[in-house]
């Protein structure tokens, strides 16, 4: 299917201007009020090519998304907001405008509040022709993945790519059957999964977006309680596990969506039994967006969303699609059943995924070895524990450094979730004669750093 570059795709697909758009600070927000806020922010935004949308408030973030499209500004979605990341973005995108929650400021950056200071009620309704639609080929966002060189790698997303990906996923999941359901998400929306499955899923399927980002089970229950009708929970394996272990009672759910890392089938079965709703998973990555779905309690096989195709060669598995540019080599080990069905067999050796955040050991090692005073150092995944989230370990040769100093340097450069725990100082790394670091030798040294 060829999509004409002139085709325009709407910002949202809610029934009418009076339809409920969001639930924000305990109050309903209509589509009309949302669009008024989009127009208001579009007027307030300074000129500039790029917008860094750091809003934690989901309504503010969604307003920022609409206003950026209206002003043809490109939203940047960094993997984190560490000082080093922000500095690199500022260097790479001069004149960057930072969009924030009310009153939040980042030193040295031009910051604008996403929502009007006097509240949404202070705005007048937009003109009648306010049905916003944007060209499919308009560049809407740049997501970043961690490249192995230490610099975030930009992934350019057109509005058409984002919308069609979310449409495909929504169709595969049967979201339309739920009507104008409410959506509570526990994932950050700066993450591609959160952007697609919380913000864009709500916009493009006429759902009611809950403005909060609950973390604790009791908060998730309270957020779901706010919503009047059917309820969708968008979450991750880590959050889901905590929710089930805690045993907090939730209001009735109609649909659970989970992503960022494959969910164990038993956890999916438990979740469906305890929460009383079907649980589906989404598979994708920052490079491609959403690729496939499955109902985990029923099958281990993933089904590609409409328009996505996979093929394999000696390098690995490549994904392409009607709305993707070119082919992308996937970072996971995949067994193809057909060109649209597959089974996942874990990640490629260099890839790490902790609580849904992906990085590569090459990227982390690059940063570790760039710290002044580090003579040699390596990150690796220790044996996974019985419960909880297993963290990376690091062995480091750095005679003049303390753990505090090294961690402070690393915190500047890498996402805190990847900080080593344990971090062990050693006299030398257990390199074999070819200079490689066998995993078994690393594990032995971690158990007993004095032994060679």
């Amino acid at each position: 299917m060829t999509i004409l570059s002139t085709s325009r795709l709407p910002l949202l697909r809610h029934g009418s201007p009076d339809a409920l758009f969001a639930w924000h600070d305990g109050r309903p927000v209509t589509v009309r009020a949302y669009l008024a806020a989009v127009h208001d922010l579009a007027r307030r935004l300074p000129d500039g090519a790029y917008l860094l949308n750091l809003c934690g408030d989901r309504l503010g973030f969604a307003v920022g998304l609409g206003a950026a499209l209206l002003r043809r500004q490109i939203s940047l979605h960094p993997p984190n907001d560490t000082p080093d990341t922000l500095r690199q973005l500022e260097e790479g995108y001069p004149g960057l405008i930072c969009l924030t929650d009310a009153g939040v400021r980042y030193p040295g950056m031009a910051c604008v509040d996403a929502l009007p200071r006097d509240g949404l009620d202070s705005l007048t309704a937009p003109p009648e022709d306010a049905d916003l639609a944007f060209p499919a080929d308009q560049v809407a966002a740049i997501a970043f993945t961690s490249g192995s060189t230490g610099r975030p790698m930009p992934q350019v997303k057109s509005w058409g790519t984002l919308v069609r990906s979310v449409h495909g996923a929504g169709t595969a999941l049967g979201i339309a059957r739920l009507g104008p359901a409410g959506l509570v998400g526990t994932v950050p929306h700066q993450h591609m999964y959160g952007l697609e499955s919380v913000i864009l899923l709500a916009l493009q399927h006429g759902l009611v977006l809950h403005g909060g980002r609950p973390l604790f089970p009791a908060d998730i229950a309270a957020s779901l309680d706010d919503l009047p009708g059917r309820r969708i929970l968008v979450t991750t394996p880590v959050h889901l596990q905590a929710l089930l272990a805690d045993g907090t009672a939730l209001p009735p759910l109609d649909f659970i969506l989970c992503a960022t890392a494959p969910l164990a089938p038993q956890l999916a079965i438990d979740a469906e039994a305890k929460l009383g709703a079907p649980l589906h998973e989404i598979y994708g990555c920052s490079e491609t967006g959403q690729l496939a779905v499955r109902r985990t309690s029923a099958t281990a096989e993933w089904l590609c969303i409409d328009g996505i195709r996979l093929r394999q060669d000696e390098q690995g598995t490549w994904a392409s699609g009607d709305f993707l540019d070119g082919e992308t080599l996937l970072a996971d080990v995949i067994e193809l059943k057909s060109d649209t069905r597959f089974v996942l067999h874990g990640r490629s050796a260099d890839q790490v995924n902790i609580a849904g955040k992906r990085s590569s050991l090459a990227f982390l090692n690059h940063h570790l070895n760039s710290v002044e005073g580090v003579k040699d150092g390596v990150f690796f995944m220790p044996r996974e524990g019985e419960s909880g989230t297993t963290r990376l370990a690091a062995l480091v040769v750095a005679p003049g450094l303390t753990a505090e100093t090294l961690l402070a340097h690393l915190r500047e450069r890498i996402d805190p979730i990847f900080l080593p725990r344990p971090l062990q100082f050693v006299d030398a790394l257990p390199r074999n004669p070819t200079g490689k670091l066998p995993r078994e030798a690393l594990l032995r040294m971690l158990d007993d750093p004095r032994r060679e």
Partner: protein, 91 residues
């Protein structure tokens, strides 16, 4: 030892719970009750906080919430978290 700030008995219990839950290398008694839990200090992140909340719920029978105005205050330090838990227990 003299420069260590003394933990109250309930603070020491909570510090022990945190260290055991997250298998931290720190000695519970050596945790500064006023040091930040997030970032610097103990170096916890949101995944740790979630695990701590679960352990708190099982041990003390109280459910932590974050989405109110106490959002930032509760997790400022071991002392503020402990005060919050004691208040919830008393309520």
């Amino acid at each position: 030892m003299s420069d260590l700030k003394a933990l109250s008995p309930t603070e020491l219990d909570l510090a022990t719970l945190i260290v055991n839950t997250l298998t931290l290398e720190a000695d519970p008694e050596s945790i500064d009750p006023d040091a930040p839990l997030y970032g610097e200090g103990l170096g916890l992140d949101s995944i740790d906080i979630l695990e701590v909340a679960l352990a708190v719920s099982k041990t003390y029978g109280v459910k932590l919430r974050a989405d109110d105005e106490n959002n930032t205050k509760i997790f400022t330090s071991l002392r503020t978290l402990n005060d919050h838990i004691q208040q919830l227990k008393a309520a």
